[in-house]
Amino acid sequence: MSTGDKVFVADRISKVYTMGDVKVHALRDISFSIESGEYAAIMGPSGSGKSTLMHIMGCLDRPTSGSLYLRGKDVSSLTDGELAEIRNAEIGFVFQNFNLLPNISILENVELPMVYAGVPPKERRERAVRALEMVGLGSRLHHKPSEVSGGQRQRASIARAVVNRPAIVLADEPTGNLDSATGAEIMELFDELNAKGNTIILVTHEREVAEHASRIIHILDGEIARMEIRKTNGRGTTQWEAVEV
């Protein structure tokens, strides 16, 4: 299958959980693709399957059936070790609860993906410092995560997500644990990152967050319910237009 300049392609992926005798279809034959440099949002209420989709897109989990292409490479049947390498090189995670290691400094947290990538310590440090400066944490390098604010923690985790120059940045409810003002700042940061060419996928249940993206994919009951793309008219107002699934 040719994926062209699409950074991510999902081809009829399903995820079935078996609980005793009951089979739960978390995802049913989902197909979609993400262009390189795209800013997309996956929206849906809790239980819709969007978390499962995020885990599969993030190579934390494998689909039960269907294929998944990341930068043209089929990743749907890789071993655990190969998936770890893909996560390391191609995926940057931003979590709702930051998921920074509490016992090490922010700088060391940002270095962590490069530690597992085998980047030499000196280069690692330089890149981590640059990433932190980019997110505005240049003066907080040696603080522990518990010593900075929630917004700063999320900035640190964004720095960690982009430091290995991944194919996609996957942000799972990135503003869920933040007040609205801080949340807005974080969303601005994502906008900036996208403007610099990073492919960003937001997973959220908030319309306001999703509207930062240029495309919204709605998930309901494990299926893509509908899709919307942003249209800006001549007067600069934004409209959302439904497109064919």
Partner: protein, 404 residues
């Protein structure tokens, strides 16, 4: 990712869990300390015993009758014929490797002086015996050749005997009585031996040395001796001497069961075998506490793994592989064990030193024991760390990330 990175992670996690790390260290410290202490006591005892055997006299070989098959409580005639004074000369002429042959005869008797009496071991010997057992007179003189040839009634007292009988008096030149069986002999004290103390089973200070001829002719009224103490020219030839004497005695007696030739080496071998068994046993008992320490580490590591599930999830999310997590946790438990091992080594060293001082034994700690203790504790860390580390490594990242 190199070992240094993993070490950094492991040390970092110790510093965040100081109390817990210290507690699990304690188990290993006590385990290793007790192994080191016990083994050092054991090897100290071994050195002590070996020294004492050395103190019995260098290159000492003894010949004694084996099974004595006589009729009616009398010794069989052919053995009596062989274990004579003359035979000592014959053995001495066997080989240039033999420096001295001393025919010895020993009996228990009563030593009496003034109002004091003391039960003693009376040893009939020749002048060479002082050199053979490395025990010399402190005052006066030892038994001389002419004492032996004339069966002179002279005696050299062990230091304890001298003290018990004569108190602060100088015994040299005094006449005392020896009661041997039913006979009483008046003997002249010519010397007092230097104190030698208890050597294995024998107390050398509770003896009286007399000319062997005097003891046989005037005391026991017998022609045969108990055996011979042979001094080899050097330690190196002791084995050859044993063989020569064995061959000679076999020729004389026909049956090798009828006599026994023992060298210092054979005694040493037997004794060190016994003491190494003891050392091993002590070490084995102490190892149990090391094992318990290992189980402590496993316990702590299991708690750590479940407490750090989220950390494992985060590490996996950013690209840590199974083996990264495995190595991280294994290294942590091994590091705990090795640090505990080194601290325990110090403690055990001190404990062993203190105990050996208290017992006035030589302090001995062997390098292999140290290496084994450290290696063993690393092994304990590895063995008891494997299960928790496997648990950590096999966590599903999705589940681990959700863990609260």
């Amino acid at each position: 990712m190199n070992l240094l990175e993993f070490l950094k992670i492991a040390l970092g996690s110790f510093s965040t869990n100081k109390l817990r790390s210290t507690l699990s260290l304690l188990g290993i410290i006590i385990g290793v300390a007790s192994v080191i202490t016990m083994v050092s006591i054991g090897t100290g005892a071994q050195v002590q015993v070996t020294n004492q055997i050395g103190a019995m006299g260098s290159n000492l070989i003894t010949v004694s009758p084996g099974f004595i098959r006589g009729g009616g409580g009398r010794i069989s005639q052919d053995i009596a014929d062989v274990f004579t004074l003359e035979m000592a000369k014959a053995i001495e002429n066997l080989s240039p490797n033999i420096k001295h042959v001393v025919p010895t005869s020993t009996t228990m008797g009563l030593a009496v002086y003034g109002g004091n009496n003391v039960r003693v071991q009376i040893s009939g010997v020749t002048p060479a015996y002082q050199e053979v057992i490395n025990h010399y007179p402190l005052i006066g003189r030892y038994i001389r050749e002419e004492d032996v040839s004339n069966s002179e009634k002279v005696a050299v007292l062990g230091s304890e005997v001298a003290l018990d009988l004569f108190g602060s008096e100088n015994p040299v030149g005094k006449t005392m009585r020896l009661v041997i069986g039913g006979r009483t002999l008046s003997v002249k004290v010519v010397g007092v031996m230097e104190p030698k103390g208890q050597v294995l089973m024998a107390n050398y200070d509770n003896r009286i040395y007399v000319p062997v001829t005097m003891l046989l002719n005037r005391g026991l009224n017998s022609r045969y001796v108990d055996g011979y103490s042979i001094m080899a020219a050097s330690r190196d030839v002791a084995k050859a001497v044993v063989e020569e004497v064995q061959a000679f005695m076999t020729r004389m007696l026909g049956d090798p069961d009828r006599f026994r030739v023992m060298s210092q080496d054979t005694i040493l071998e037997a004794v060190s075998q016994a003491t190494s068994t003891m050392t091993l046993m002590l070490g084995a008992i102490a190892s149990i506490s090391l094992l318990v320490g290992g189980i402590g580490i496993m316990n702590i590591m299991l708690v750590t793994v479940s407490e750090r599930t989220r950390e494992i999830g985060i590490r996996k999310a950013v690209g840590a592989k199974r083996q990264h997590i495995l190595i991280q946790f294994l290294l942590e438990s091994m590091l705990l064990a090795v640090i505990g091992g080194i601290l325990g080594l110090g403690l055990g060293w001190g404990g062993g030193y203190w105990i050996s001082k208290a017992l006035s034994w030589p302090f001995s700690i062997s390098v292999p024991a140290v290496i084994i203790a450290i290696g063993f504790s690393a092994g304990v860390g590895l063995f008891f760390g494997i299960y928790p580390a496997l648990q950590a490594a096999s966590l599903d990242p999705v589940v681990a990330l959700r863990y609260e």
